[in-house]
């Protein structure tokens, strides 16, 4: 950890920021000064003040409380989506890489199918078909992301399969599954970690994009994308309603992106040329 922090001047602050965001996600809603969903119609669209640090929205709700509470939704979605995507993807990719042959070909074609759709296009199509709510958003985004992890896992597995320790283990009679879990996962972990940190930001951005299009979180949930959607009409009369959710979103995505970058530089400089965007 210390080496990581020392590697670049950015890493320390980034870690702090990520910790703060996670803290907000876990504890936030319990500690905020005002209940995030409570309307106070007499207090609409107040600019930032001592009582309301980020001002109030068009139903009199405290924006600061809503922004902090929104962290929980975004992080929750990111965790669910990436857990599903990573497990599903790694399983499929590792199986393809290990077994080879027609299994590999079939699974890779499946992966290609899901990769054929631009992210938001696929997520919207699923959202429209299944209905607009956060659960379907998580399902849709999992479908968008698992192919990347499948490819990643497959690539790593195939590369590692040639390495001596694997050949040796095989020669000693260990089963493939054993080899997979004992040795390979340990080697995959660093690059997986990097990719996950980078993807957290994108997942959160896509979630808010879907809410913005009307497909994701539903009112009155304090989801950042939804808050941005609702504040579009006040861009001139009450710009704080758009500014703070946008800031929260940007900082969160930025923090995880920088974390991923830092991790990549720290864990393996050779990883720099791997997939950069999602």
């Amino acid at each position: 950890m210390r080496r990581f922090v020392r590697q670049s001047r950015l890493n320390g602050p980034v870690l702090v920021l990520v910790a703060l965001i996670l803290l907000a996600a876990i504890l936030g809603e319990a500690l905020v000064p005002h209940p995030p969903r409570k309307q106070n119609l007499a207090n609409r669209l107040q600019p930032p003040s001592a009582a309301h640090w980020f001002g109030t929205d068009d139903y009199g709700r405290d924006i600061f409380s809503r922004v902090i509470s929104g962290a929980r939704i975004s992080i929750q979605v990111a965790i669910v989506v990436l857990s599903v995507a990573v497990s599903l993807g790694t399983l499929i990719g590792a199986t393809a890489g290990l077994l080879g042959g027609w299994v590999d070909a079939a699974l890779m074609r499946l992966t290609d199918l899901f990769l054929a759709f631009p992210a938001l296009v696929l997520a919207s199509a699923i959202g429209v078909a299944l209905g607009s709510n956060l659960t379907n958003t998580m399902l849709a985004l999992s479908m968008v992301y698992w192919p990347w992890y499948a490819r990643l896992a497959r690539g790593q597995v195939m590369a590692l399969a040639q390495r001596e320790f694997v050949l040796a283990a095989r020669a000693l009679g260990m089963h493939d599954i054993h080899i997979l879990f004992r040795h390979m996962l340990r080697n995959i972990l660093p690059i997986l970690l990097v990719q996950i940190s980078l993807d957290v930001g994108y997942v959160i951005l896509y979630t808010s994009a879907l809410s913005f299009l009307g497909l994701g979180a539903q009112r009155p949930e304090p989801e950042w994308g939804l808050m941005l959607n609702d504040s579009r009409k006040f861009v001139q009369t009450a710009p704080w309603t758009m500014f703070y959710p946008g800031l929260a979103l940007t900082l969160t995505v930025l923090a995880f992106n920088l974390l991923g970058d830092g991790l990549r530089d720290y864990l393996d400089p050779r990883l720099r040329n791997q997939r950069v965007a999602g």
């Binding site: 609409r44 600019p47 068009d58 009307g214 009155p220 009409k233 001139q236 009450a238 704080w240």
Partner: protein
């Protein structure tokens, strides 16, 4: 480094904007008519573009705005009067002794845009078409005793005899409405009609995207999702040389983004816009550069109840009615630009009972008690469906959602664009499949109890009169009262009908939450004159009479 200066700059400018909370960005000195061509063009910015130009089919306010550019009826309301009419395609009209038969002398020398002549035959065909298509025929239907084929008589080429079958002194006033009285070219109807299984479609398919009327403008272009353009009809019978600078071209732009509509108006890139937020409306009027209306319309924004599941019990509907913060909504959320609802039909109408009758207050205790009495389980979820683009439907829903949450009910808000919402609202699904609550608004064709209450609250029947009753509300006693009011003339008996109807619709068997009565949300640049601000003509324009000054 251009790419990076801009995001930083944007962040900084947004920060600055936030630190000066009361100041909006300095308005540009928009010059509405800087070039000659711009001056001759009228540009409107609307939240959605209607997709149907057929005057017999469209039902939403957006479509009606288009029809008045392309088509005309026999008469029109004069200026801002909701009672007096002036001649349009009819030059004059005379009743008989008991006012059950009206004789309309029609204007000569008027041609449809396809070149065919306007005459009594054409007038009759156009009016009958309304009834045959079924969606907007209730006015014609009512005053021809449901038999327009026989009760509209062509006396000679330019004389149409109208037989009501009963004493109908308000017929001319009824025909002043902008709904369901426009006449299309019968030649075009014949030429483009499609017959499927022996049924004619009355050329609806063609009239959806084309026009053939007598109106002041012609359709120049439809660009889906972008704009609809009208161009001056050079052969319009009223002529264009009366000294006023009429508009040569009318462009209706699709601008779903609310803040963009405001910006267009402020910069002078639009002359007329529908403004969705109270803040924008007040800010724009404060500049003194825009005209708006200060009188409430004959209109009610309401949330219908569908009598399904738990809503079958009137106590539950009463409970929900007690859980809405009427004053807070009208005064705070709508900034005092709306009056809280006090009546199932507009309180400005002659027949309104208003505060003399039963009223709800915002009383959560009563609401909870009623729910408990009705045995509604805690956490029951209801769905509220509404159309996007107009702002207030969503606002009503959010206020209701907060209120319901406090009495243990969950409200799910569902948004659709106007066309899809109308598909559901006017659809044929069984009642069990309709959303529990729907956001809607209604205004009468003319100032008459029957005209408002019948289409909105009468049990739907095959004769296409139940047009506004999307929630399929049904109450036998109310139906009887409505039917009685159709022909009743005695004032005392009518008053009794109004009071009983108020009681039923409000309290005994609630049909809706009557939320508020709004003002017109349209703002017009000062350089555009001639709009009469008629409280019945909601969101619609008499384009010929608008001019630039």
């Amino acid at each position: 480094m251009r790419g990076y200066l801009l995001p930083t700059g944007l962040l900084v400018s947004s920060l600055l904007a936030c630190s000066a909370p009361q100041s909006s960005p300095s308005p540009q000195q928009g010059t509405p008519a800087s070039t000659a061509e711009r001056a001759r063009t009228l540009i409107l910015a609307m939240p959605s573009l209607p997709t149907n130009l057929d005057p017999g089919v469209a039902t939403s306010g957006a479509e009606n705005m288009l029809h008045r550019a392309l088509y005309e009826g026999l008469v029109n309301f004069k200026g801002s009067s909701t009672v007096e009419v002036e001649p349009v395609l009819a030059e004059s009209f005379e009743p008989n002794a008991d006012q059950s038969v009206w004789t309309f002398k029609l204007r000569r020398g008027v041609k449809f845009s396809d070149g065919s002549d306007f005459n009594a035959e054409a007038a009759k065909a156009g009016l009958v078409r309304m009834v045959k298509i079924g969606l907007l025929g209730n006015t014609i239907n009512r005053f021809t005793n449901e038999d327009p084929e026989n009760n509209l008589v062509v006396k000679d080429e330019y004389t149409l005899e109208w037989r009501c079958g009963f004493s109908c002194p308000i017929l001319p006033q009824a025909l002043g409405t902008a709904y369901g009285t426009f006449i299309v070219s019968p030649a075009a109807m014949k030429a483009h009609e499609k017959i499927v299984d022996g049924q004619s479609d009355y050329a609806q398919a063609w009239f959806t995207n084309n026009a053939a009327g007598t109106g002041p403008y012609l359709l120049e272009a439809i660009k889906p999702n972008e704009e609809i353009v009208f161009v001056r009809n050079p052969n319009y019978w009223r002529g264009w040389d009366d000294g006023r600078q009429h508009f040569e071209r009318i462009i209706i732009r699709n601008v779903p983004e609310s803040s963009t509509r405001r910006q267009l108006l402020e910069k002078g890139d639009a002359d007329i816009a529908l403004i969705s937020t109270v803040e924008d409306y007040k800010a724009l009027r404060a500049t003194g550069r825009f005209q708006g209306s200060d009188t409430p319309l004959f209109r009610i924004n309401y949330i219908t109840f569908t009598k399904r599941d738990v809503l079958k019990d009137p106590r539950v509907r009463q409970a929900i009615s007690y859980a809405f913060d009427y004053e807070g909504y009208a005064n705070e959320v709508e900034g005092g630009l709306m009056r809280r609802g006090t009546s199932p039909w507009p309180s400005g109408m002659r027949s309104a009972v208003g505060t003399r009758g039963f009223q709800y207050t915002f009383d959560l205790e009563k609401a909870r008690a009623l729910l408990k009495e009705a045995g509604v389980p805690e956490g029951t979820e209801l769905v509220y469906l509404y159309a996007t683009g107009y702002g207030y439907y969503e606002r009503m829903g959010q206020v209701l959602q907060a209120g319901l949450e406090q009495i243990g009910l969950k409200l799910r808000l569902e948004e659709r664009d106007e066309a899809s919402f109308n598909d559901i609202f006017y659809g044929a699904q069984p009642v069990e499949e309709l959303p529990h609550l729907m956001g809607y608004a209604w205004w009468p064709d003319y100032d008459d109890f029957y005209n408002y209450v019948n289409p909105v609250f009468h049990t739907r029947n095959d004769k296409n009169d139940g047009l506004g009753n999307g929630a399929r509300y049904s109450n036998a006693e109310l139906d009887a009262l409505i039917d009685q009011s159709k022909f009743e003339t005695d004032p005392a008996r009518l008053q009794a009908i109004y009071e009983r109807a108020h009681q039923i619709l409000m309290f005994e068997d609630p049909a809706a939450i009557y939320v508020a009565e709004p003002q017109e949300e349209i703002l017009i640049a000062n350089s555009v004159k001639g709009h009469p601000w008629n409280p019945i003509h909601v969101k619609t324009f008499d384009f010929y009479n608008l001019y630039r000054e």
